[in-house]
Symmetry: C2
Subunit: 204 residues, 2 copies
DNA sequence: GTCTATAGAGGGATAGAC
DNA sequence: GTCTATCCCTCTATAGAC
């Protein structure tokens, strides 16, 4: 207890760097980030970045893998659970995703903007060829709506969760939404999205 | 006629640079793009970029404004047309957006990844405070579904159009979708999305 | 208008003192 | 382990010949 409390206040140097790197990389992207920015954000010296992590790119890879894990990691076990219905899966994915994104609002920006430059990192997480097509979730959707490509619904589900966080900065800047209203809407979406998906699937 | 045909084959130097800049900036983002890349892509010399456009950033601003125009421009007149119903607007937006995106599949990546660094460019396009909240489209949605924040539906509409193009590279790399299937699905979406939105609005 | 050559700044990485 | 000082490469921008 005492140890943990202390660790939170007085992080190890290595952890300070990682924390600063998370922040700066996420805000500015890989190319626009200078190692000096990270050092400054961490309140430390530039040389320490190379002492703890060999290079800017190594440090980035570490952060990236972590974010990918956050972004895609939890979904895989859910998707292949044979004991839950489609609707239960949808509810689970929605609520977990919305919570994750509310805590990390710029996760989508980061992952999506860097993904095209990093064709390999996230393959390690997802491994194996077209496991997704063979997943239980996709199979269950296919049964529910046999006439349609099931990925329509997967894309809609993820899009309705993730896209608001992408649009949010734009909408706020346009004065269309304030922070509080946005937060309230995201809460509502936890129940709205499963209902929308349900009616989409039943329409067929 | 003769002149135009020639112009299309043998572009002016200025146009060659812009064309190359579009390609490279879109693929790599601003920070990761080197002016040398653009010069090479254009088959020209580096010095010419600075001759025609004063600097890398000026050139970028030009391309960015152009892309913003593409991305947001056409929507504004549609949104404020008093002579069309919600459903007609949804159909119009969907079909135009899907066509635009099919021709420029990496438009979303570009706009969305650069938007956080360029808080001002697109404000010129959208100008004026919360014009969006006062738009006819939003008012019409509010009437149809009085209990809910109308931006839920706007976000869903745009998300269902745009998000597939964001996910596409990921899904292709995971072997879940091939190019042909994706193109087919995007065509289907032109009619599917309006139907989905309609049933969402009626559910309330 | 288009090129070559180069100035000049910025930023990643490291040597070496403490 | 942590710091300062600095190397050196890369990239933008410009000078100047043609």
């Amino acid at each position: 207890m005492k140890k943990k409390a202390k660790a939170e206040i007085d992080l190890s140097t290595e952890e300070k760097i990682k924390e600063a790197a998370r922040k700066v990389f996420t805000r500015k992207g890989y190319a626009a980030t200078r190692t000096r920015d990270i050092a400054e954000e961490a309140g430390l010296n530039l040389a320490l970045l190379n002492y703890y992590f060999r290079s800017k790119s190594k440090l980035f890879e570490m952060i990236m893998a972590e974010k990918m894990q956050q972004f895609f990691g939890f979904m895989l076990p859910v998707i292949n659970n044979a004991d839950t219905s489609v609707q239960e899966k949808v509810e689970l994915i929605t609520s977990k995703y919305m919570e994750l994104l509310m805590e990390n609002p710029d996760l989508p920006y980061f992952v999506l903007s860097e993904i095209r430059n990093t064709p390999d990192y996230f393959m390690k997480i997802t491994d194996s060829g077209n496991f997704l097509s063979k997943s239980i979730f996709i199979r269950q959707i296919r049964e529910k709506a046999p006439g349609r490509n099931p990925f329509h619904y997967l894309i809609n589900l993820l899009g309705m969760c993730v896209f608001p966080f992408i649009m949010n900065p734009v909408l706020q800047k346009m004065g269309a939404l304030d922070e509080k209203t946005f937060a309230k809407m995201m809460k509502e979406r936890k129940t709205l999205i499963p209902a929308w998906i349900k009616s989409m699937l039943e329409e067929d």
